[in-house]
Structure formats: C-alpha cells, structure tokens
Symmetry: C2
Subunit: 372 residues, 2 copies
C-alpha cells in the first residue's frame, strides 16, 4: 500500500548530539506525534514514522538531516504536505527547512505552474532579455488616476503592470471599477504600441471572493493575476492554478511571509519559501525583495530564490524570479549580471521619479536591459 | 468619507533614532508603499498614510510605536487587515506586532467567535472547572482502532476528543469513514454516560474541500471542528465561523505558525497570534504549546495567550485557551494555579500511558481537575 517517499532536508542547530536528537524527534513529531515508546510495531513504525536517511555536519554548530516521509502521509493535499514538512516543528526553535526533494508521485498530485517563464514570455511577446514590471500606487489614488498611470506605463513599454498589493476593494478604489478601468487603459495603449503589456490586478481577497475576483478580472481583460498566499493561504493559490475556468498567469506576492525566512536558523530557507513552494502552488512568477533594497535579503539568499525558481523540479515549469523593493536604476547592470535574462525586474519608484515623463521613463529603463 | 482608525503597537529594536525611523517607515510601507516624497498632499497624506500616535521606550534597545490606520484601508477584509498590520513589514527584521487595538467599527466587520467559553461549556454541560481534551493518534491507526479509542476516552469522561491534526484524508484512514465511526463511538459512549463529550474531527483541507468536510462532519454527528489556519489560511477559519450552514464550535491548531512567534524581536507577539487574531477569525478555542513541554514557550508567553483569549475585545466572546504538548499529570496542579478554571487542558500521552485502562485514566485526570 505504501511505497514512495519524499524527503525534507532540515538544518538543525546545536552540537552533534543535540542535532541528532532533534532529527529523531522530527521523525515522530511530523507524523505520529507520540513518543518512540508509543509507536506501534509493524506498519506504523516501518512506514508512517519519518525516517532519518542522512545526517551530516554543515558547520561546527549545524547539522543537515535528510528525513523521508511516505507520500501517503501528505494525503495528496498541499495543506497536509505543508503540515508533514513543518507543521508542529515550526514551533520548535533552531530548526530550518533547507530543501525539499519531492518524488515524482508527489509532484504529480499538484498541477504546478501552467505558464512559467516560457508561457509568460509568449503572452507578452518578448522572447529574451529581462521583463519589466511596475506597480500602480499609492493606495488612496482614484480609479481614474491609477488607470491614467497604467496607460502611460504601458505606452512606455512596461511588460507587466500590477496593482500595489495593498489595493484590494477599498471604498475609495473599488475592485471592479479599478480592474475595468486599468484593463481598458492597458488595452488602449497596446493598440497604440502593438505590444502586449499585461495588467495584473491584485485579487488577494477573503476566500469566498477570491475566485469571483479572478473570474471578473479575466473577463474584463486582465492579463495576469496577483495574489499574496501569505494572506490567503498557500492552497488558495494552488486552487486558482488548478481551476480550468481561470486561464491567466499567477504572480505571487510575499506579504505577511517575511518572518518565515528572517532568522537563518528557523523557518524555511529562502529557496524553499520563494522557490519550491511557489512552484508547488502553481505560481508563474514570484515577487521577493531584492538584496540591497529596503529589505534585508542578501545577494546569496536572492540567488538561492532565483535558482529554486528555475532549476529542474520534476515536470514543473521553471518560473520567473521577480526581485523588487527599492530597485534604483543604477543597480540594473548589477542585476543583469546577477540574474541573467530569465528575470522580471519589478521597478516601482524609479519609473515614477526619474523624470516627469513616465512614458519616457519606461522606454529608458527598457534600454537599460537591452530592449530598445 | 474616512473617519475611524485602528491601532497597532509595534515593538521596534534599536536605538531611539533607529526605532523612530522604523516607525516612520512602517507608516508608509503598510499603506502607500512609496517614499515620503512621493506621498500626495491632501487625502492620501492626511488619511491613508499610517499615523504615528505614540512612541516610547520599552527597554534601552526597544521602543513601542503605536501606529493608527484608517479602518477603510483594510477594506472590511481579514486578508487585507493582516496586510495592513504586517504585510511587507513582516519582511523587515526586528519589528514585532505587540498588540492590536481594534476599533468597534472594524471589529463589527467580522463576526468573531460564535460559541466562546460559555457556548462550549453549554454544549458539553460543564458549567465550571477546566475542561479536558485529548487527541486520537497516532497516524497510521485504522478507523476502527481510532473509533475504539474515542469510545474509551468518552466513557472516561473526556470532554473533547479531537483528531490528531495530522489525520486528514490519508488512504489508510479516510476522512469520511473516520469521522463517521468516531462520531458514532462518542455518541454511543454519551448514551451510556449521560454526558456530552464532543468529537472534534480535523477538517484542515485544501480550500475546495474545507467546507464540504465541515458540513459532512456536522451532519454525521461531530461536536466541534478542528482546523489549522496556518495551513488553510486565516480567512478560511473566519469563513467557517461566518457560515450560517455550519453550527459547530471551531478549534484552532497552531501547525505551521510557530516561526511567527519564535524570535522575540520579530513576527507577532504570542497574544496577537494565539489570542487576538484567533478571535478575529472566530475560533472558539485555541491550541498552543504549553510552557515546560516539548516546545519552547515560556510561562509568561502562555499567560499572555490566555489573557488575550479571555480579556474584553469589543463585542467578541472570550475563548478558551487550550494548552497542550507534553502535559504530564504531575503538572496539573500548577496548570490549575496558572490558568484558573477557564481553560481546556489538552492531554495526549498521559491519557494513553498512565495505565492500560484508558477509561480509568480519563476519570483519574478529571479528579485531578476537581471534577469527580
């Protein structure tokens, strides 16, 4: 009945003895949730309990433990898979999920990204070089003002124009009005430019409204959808990616998730949270704060995210890393060097402030990434 | 148009100058997400941007900043309220959400708990003294074995019998079969004892199946529902609590949430995550790891959770703190002293291991809490 197993690599702080004890405890905590003495012999002990497959030092005070779990423990559910990986163990200090090694059978239980890098490029009609994204902001602007900005950004050649993730359905900027006006503005610009800029409304919403907003946005002409799985739950993103009625790319925003990666000894590694789990959910591009901006991610952490987005992962498509957050124009050469071509640069402020001519600002930034 | 504001108290690590700068940045980051120089005068600057209301030292290296936001920024959505409180700021180190001070208008946008302490006591028929809960485990046991355990626990007088939170819909223990058998077992025991033990199945599930499992469980005779909002998304719990078709108490499990509280300078304070936010979601009882068990919470952190569950919070009902995790019997006197009567003690292992007679174990533990 039970066969294939998947693996989780945990980094465990402490001496070898402490780390080994943590590893053995994880095997129990994440499955049977009883002490070793209460584990029944036979099926449960042999198959259900997590199995310590490898244990080796990372540094003098950190050990890597590879623990395998039966695929069936996750029940084909993303919610329960997250639980087996890190449910109760998230409450214990100095244990970090460093990497997932998911088996083919497990990966096949989720659809994964439907567009990925190649699909997004095809929709936008740009076969190579980095893509450019910006955000409509600030919260408090009217629908007409935001649509006006969207029009200019699209004229300037920006590839993806997303709502700021704080724009949802405020009374001063209702969702349906905003999405209609901004979609129309971008389509109007596209007719003038001949390009295929995508408007990306934020559909992050209470669960009973999420699908409804996605469908509305699609029908009114949006080009992709923005969702913050830290706010909606990870499975909400997966459900949209598995929904046959929704045929738009999904872009994932990191709001509310930061604490999961802040401390290097706890939580989830950057590549797990912003790479592997995003692909499991079915995101086609993932926004994260770039190094050197106003958030604290390091260059190495950002590289690990980009690598996890793009490296082979079963049959799942590679997805776009989408660094943003305080991206000034003088950083662009370094970003190109760091990320290569398969990246979406999320540029906010610089597109607004380089000059009063927003259309020209867009064109200028495109020239900086070799697209003029 | 814009009037009432709600407040968030953040604890900010650093010197006074550093902390003050963090506070000013939060006002922008959580609302307009642009630099001060890009905030338009008038409506946006006066109403939309967060407002620093108070700033005072907590320790020599930590300052408390009270920041207010217009109720309308949260759009009446729990997802967006979480985003305003801590969305992007979660990604910045050494900022912790210490307390929420939610206005009446904002609290009225969510229903809150429907049963709370008094409602749960009424269903169970125990007007005072602590309640006793246990868990069906381990994962891997058959439906018949789990139902047999449920029967004995209920005969022994346990008030609430929950599924272990890792039991979802595994092929070796399918949800519908388990919930039917365990419900029947508990009802059979109740007929013998004349008591009102509640069976609490775990309905944590992918979003398209959550409501379906809740309805099934209710129709087949479950007495309350267990859900892990860290796995499903916080709004999923709220949606169940707001669903007229679901008339069972909701018990919240902390799986996958631990990292949010681990480091005292980051994330959410224990009372915010396991108290205030649970009541916003509509949980009637909240499970958390007790001090001195196999998890790392301190006595003070647990006290702050219990206080946040029970203290006045607008029109919201007080809810049960439900400490668990390595609760040995010799700790019970201390727990009674610490938590008083308005608590549900979640006892796992001791109920299984005190003696081979599970019925007697239940009765014995009830006597320890003054209920014989």
């Amino acid at each position: 009945m039970i066969g294939e197993r998947f693996q989780v690599i945990y980094h465990l702080s402490g001496t070898e003895a402490v780390a080994l004890e943590k590893a053995q405890t994880i095997c129990l905590e994440q499955t049977v949730e009883v002490g070793q003495e209460l584990v029944p012999n036979g099926f449960i002990k042999e198959h259900i309990v997590g199995r310590l497959e490898q244990f080796s030092p990372v540094t003098s005070n950190c050990y890597a433990a590879t623990i395998s779990y039966a695929v069936e423990t996750a029940a084909g559910e993303l919610t329960q898979l997250l639980n087996v990986i890190f449910g109760n163990t998230s409450i214990k200090p100095e244990i970090r999920v460093q990497q997932l090694i998911l088996s083919e059978k497990l990966l096949a239980q989720f659809g994964g990204p439907r567009f990925g890098i190649a699909g997004l490029r095809q929709l936008i009609g740009v076969a190579e070089k980095p893509l450019l994204c910006t955000a409509l902001k600030p919260m408090g602007k009217s629908v007409i003002e935001l649509a006006g900005l969207a029009y200019q950004f699209a004229l300037g050649g920006v590839d993806l124009i997303k709502d700021d993730h704080g724009l949802t359905n405020q009374p001063f900027c209702p969702f349906t009005e905003r999405v209609k006006a901004c979609s129309e503005a971008v389509h109007r610009a596209n007719r003038q430019t001949g390009k295929h800029c995508l408007y990306v409304p934020n559909i992050t919403a209470p669960c009973h409204q999420l699908r409804e907003r996605a469908i509305y946005a699609q029908e009114i002409g949006a080009g992709a959808l923005l969702i913050a799985p830290g706010l909606t739950g990870f499975d909400s993103l997966r459900a949209l990616a598995a929904d046959d009625a929704i045929r738009l790319p999904l872009i994932s925003h990191p709001a509310f998730l930061g604490t999961m990666v802040t401390h290097p000894a706890n939580g989830l590694a950057h590549g797990v949270l912003f790479g592997q789990l995003q692909r499991l959910m079915g995101a086609d591009a993932v926004i994260y704060p770039n190094y050197g901006g106003r958030f604290g991610f390091t260059r190495e952490e950002c590289q690990s995210i980009a690598a996890s987005c793009r490296e082979p992962m079963g049959h799942y498509l590679p997805i776009f890393p989408m660094p943003g957050g305080g991206m000034s124009l003088e950083k662009i050469p370094d970003l190109l060097n760091e990320y290569g071509n398969e990246v979406v640069l999320l540029v906010g402020g610089a597109l607004y402030t380089r000059s009063p001519d927003i259309v020209d600002n867009g064109r200028y930034i495109l020239s900086l990434v070799g697209r003029s």
